[in-house]
């Protein structure tokens, strides 16, 4: 295996602003090798592959293909160099058939769509690798696993030497994953170099030839599967941990329950539910963390608790049943929500900072004759702008033009201000420090700790294990929509949690 090197990326570095996403990464894949790229969220796996497929340009570093130095400046270059990538999020057109999706933009004849000719070529390709997928029905009607196959066919139809699969198994059932990986194996055996991005250790150990582990933008280790063990890989993925935030630590847990969830099930894409029979509770004064790799049902869980998404089961806030209640009614019961996607679910991009700060609070504040009072909104914004050091410090600035960190501060200030008015039963935060610099991150975590000290229950859903280890009193681990473990602070063992997050055993 790996007798000759097909791909070599050498000393690749990539920055996004102040953030060092890739730090001198060197990575090699041999001909006919199925090579796993393993790491936590934000470790740099996808960034590295986006450099290879021409979506990003590296700040420095070199790429060799079959011993030849190449420049890859655009996705077009990558296609020309016979590099194909299947992205984590499908890029299929649901109304077109599988065949049409595969050949769109790369038809063999210029003017006419020669269905028979295209179909013959694609079907031959599918047969060669043992793909069983209906190519003549609209893609929207296919299962997720079959859509995945169409994506792969699309990537290889023009002929590739290097195939990159970015977390292709995340949305698949274990059986579907095994089937897919067997297919990928067959492609590697035909001489392709396959890069398989994953966070599931077991799949890697069972199917791959070699594994490279990334952590914090660097290569933590690269070894042949024969030398790899589950424990060893987890250790490479996780590395050293941050110290616990000094203000955290166990607090006397009160009797009162802030949030109780029973038998919560949320439908997902396809047949697999996004959340399966979740049950847990968060006490007042307690910080409960939900750990898990992104895409294991966390977003759906949050939205079901907030009331944005229909769900089966029961949700209680502060001892009162709010199952089926409107979002607003839940917020009025003292639920504060800091959504993960601040641009999509949080900010009003065209309105001012003051207007953003008052959203949600407006029905409580403006009770005058007409209601809304812009002067009052601006006046009210002064305190949070100063306290949270929002920049620029102007209440009339257009919120959409602020940086991500400042937008996040607005969302936190907005939530906590609402809590000050309605009382806070539960603060639900989903990846609240994602993409923030270290200072803002610490600030956000302190806000959560302080909310819990003030008697609120805090539910922190995070794919950053360090964040949870730093401030959570209890950690629940979410995998494939189910809560697979409930660990208290004394039992925090990053390796064990890492294994659980990757679908392994917790023993």
């Amino acid at each position: 295996m790996g007798a000759s090197v097909r791909l070599r990326m050498e000393d690749v570095t990539k920055r996004f602003g102040d953030f060092l996403a890739l730090d001198g990464v060197t990575f090699e894949v041999g001909v006919g090798e199925l090579h796993a790229l393993l790491g936590e969220n934000g470790a740099g796996k996808t960034t590295l592959m986006n450099v290879l497929s021409g979506l990003y340009r590296a700040d420095s570093g070199r790429i060799w293909l079959d011993g030849q130095h190449v420049e890859i400046a655009s996705p077009r270059d990558a296609v020309r160099r016979r590099i194909g990538m299947v992205h984590q999020h499908f890029e299929l057109i649901p109304a077109l058939t599988g065949l049409e999706n595969v050949v769109v933009g790369r038809e063999t004849s210029r003017w006419w769509f020669r269905r028979d000719r295209e179909a013959g070529a694609v079907e031959a390709l599918a047969r060669r690798f043992g793909f069983t997928v209906a190519l003549d029905v609209p893609v929207g009607a296919l299962s997720v696993a079959d859509q995945q196959k169409v994506e792969i066919l699309k990537a290889i139809v023009r002929g590739v030497d290097v195939l990159i699969l970015d977390e292709p198994t995340t949305v698949l059932t274990p059986q579907e994953s095994d089937h897919l990986l067997a297919t990928v194996r067959a492609m590697a055996d035909e001489g392709l170099a396959v890069v398989f991005i994953s966070h599931r250790i077991r799949e890697v150990l069972e199917h791959c030839d070699r594994v490279t582990v990334m952590r914090g933008g660097r290569v933590a280790g690269s070894l042949a599967i024969a030398e790899a063990t589950e424990a060893g890989l987890v250790e490479l993925m996780i590395g050293e941990r941050l110290a616990r935030l000094e203000s955290a630590g166990p607090r006397p847990a009160g009797e009162a329950i802030a949030l109780r969830v029973e038998g919560l099930t949320v439908a997902g894409r396809g047949a697999v539910p996004a959340v399966r029979n979740a049950g847990f509770s968060v006490g007042r004064g307690e910080i409960v963390g939900i750990a898990g790799v992104a895409g294991n049902g966390q977003q759906e869980l949050c939205e079901a608790i907030v009331g944005l998404r229909p769900a089966a089961g029961r949700v209680e806030l502060d001892g009162r049943n709010v199952t089926g209640a409107r979002v607003g009614a839940r917020l009025d019961r003292g639920l504060l929500y800091i959504p993960e996607d601040r641009m999509a679910d949080g900010i009003l991009p065209t309105l001012s900072v003051a207007e953003n700060l008052v959203l949600g609070l407006h029905r409580h504040v403006f009770t005058g004759r007409l209601g809304y009072d812009p002067g009052r909104a601006v006046a009210m914004a002064a305190a949070p702008i100063a306290e949270y050091r929002i920049a620029p410090p102007s209440p009339t600035a257009i919120a959409g033009l602020l940086s991500g960190g400042n937008i996040q501060k607005i969302l936190i200030a907005r939530a906590l201000a609402r809590g000050a008015r309605t009382g806070t039963a539960l603060l639900l935060a989903h990846n609240p420090s994602r993409g923030l610099d270290i200072r803002t991150t610490t600030f956000v975590r302190r806000c959560l700790v302080e909310a819990s000290r003030a008697g609120a229950g805090v539910l922190l859903v995070s794919s950053d294990l360090d964040e949870l280890l730093q401030i959570a009193d209890r950690i629940l681990v979410m995998f494939h929509g189910a809560l697979v473990a409930d660990l208290s602070a004394e039992a925090f063992d990053p390796y064990r949690i890492g294994r659980l997050m990757a679908g392994g055993e917790g023993g």
């Binding site: 979002v327 991009p349 065209t350 008052v358 403006f366 209601g371």
Partner: protein, 333 residues
């Protein structure tokens, strides 16, 4: 500034058109200004024209602020006009103090009723409001055709028009001699009303939040379905009122062709005025001047009837071009 440049470009292009048609640009411009702004009669005509354009522009603008496209202003104008005419013909015995306000209010409600249909469909089942409003335009127009040729037809006229509404249902004139009716006063009042609604009420704040980011406003607890329906109702009411005014003040009856595409012009007006009431006012005045002015060019300088449309299109394109050249405000996540 940018808009002045755009209007300048359009005016230059307009003069070019006049030259090509063999007219004298100097006298054309003079006629244009005199007939739309300079003379008392012309000014009155411009103000009368402004009324439906302004109310329609406010209707479209209000919906746009919430992120909805109300392409159904024409239909809602007919709906308002039909309800207003029906009431005026049926309850003509009432004194003017009662009848006139009732005609205007019910006209508004008629427009609102028609607009609530796409509102509910959008709020409940996420049906695209563009299709529904466009389709309802046909429904309302055909209903107006049926009524003006059938039950309400004025047998003396031999056209698709209804009988005259009674005196008590007619909006007073500002100036009997020049023909300016009181609709413009109403329309101006609604500029203020809509501005107050949007900028000074909790409802308006939620409308603006919805238009800025529907997901985020939902996450913040805004009751979207209810808000959506009320936005459509309010938008339709403004258009319906425009219809009632056209009946009550201008034609004194329901006529087929009551709206020569005011709905589409309202769309342009709302876009040019950036959906803000003061901007909509300026755009509506400009559009009315253009319509009346080029109408007279047709008579005096012998320009074809469609010249007004050409000018309109030129101005709108110039402004949109100036708009598009400015980079849109975007978040820096």
């Amino acid at each position: 500034m940018k808009y002045l440049a755009a209007i300048g470009i359009a005016a230059l292009a307009g003069l070019l058109v006049v030259l090509v048609m063999g007219g004298d640009p100097g006298s054309a411009l003079g006629t244009f200004l005199w007939s739309s702004l300079g003379s008392l009669n012309g000014l009155s005509q411009t103000l009368n024209k402004t009324c439906p354009l302004l109310l329609g522009g406010l209707a479209v603008g209000l919906a746009l602020r919430a992120g909805f496209f109300n392409i159904g202003v024409d239909g809602q104008i007919y709906a308002g006009a039909i309800v207003a005419t029906g009431l005026a013909l049926g309850a003509g015995g009432l004194p003017a103090v009662l009848l006139l306000p009732a005609v205007l209010v019910l006209g508004g409600l008629g427009g609102a009723a028609l607009a609530v249909v796409p509102g509910v469909l959008r709020a409940r089942w996420s049906v695209n409001e563009i299709f529904v409003t466009v389709m309802l335009n046909f429904v309302a127009a055909f209903l107006a055709e049926y009524l003006t040729t059938g039950p309400w037809n004025d047998p003396m006229a031999g056209e698709a028009i209804s009988r005259l509404v009674p005196e008590g249902a007619r909006l007073p004139m500002i100036s009997e001699r020049s023909g300016a009716h009181g609709g413009i006063v109403l329309a101006l009042a609604f500029v203020l009303v809509v501005w107050l609604l949007l900028e000074r009420t909790t409802w308006g704040f939620e409308v603006r939040a919805l238009g800025s980011n529907p997901r985020a406003s939902r996450v913040a607890g805004v009751r979207q379905a209810r808000l959506t329906v009320t936005v459509f109702a309010m938008s339709g009411a403004l258009a319906g009122l425009a219809g009632a005014v056209e009946v009550s003040a201008l034609h004194q009856r329901l006529i087929l062709g009551l709206t020569p595409g005011y709905g589409i012009m309202a769309l342009l007006i709302a876009v040019l005025g950036k959906s803000r009431p003061p901007g909509v006012l300026v755009a509506a005045l400009g559009m009315a001047t253009l319509l009346v002015g080029s109408d007279s060019l047709q008579r005096s300088v012998n320009l074809p009837a469609s010249a007004a449309l050409v000018f309109q299109a030129l101005i709108v394109l110039s402004v949109l071009f100036a708009e598009a050249r400015r980079p849109a405000a975007r978040g820096t996540a």
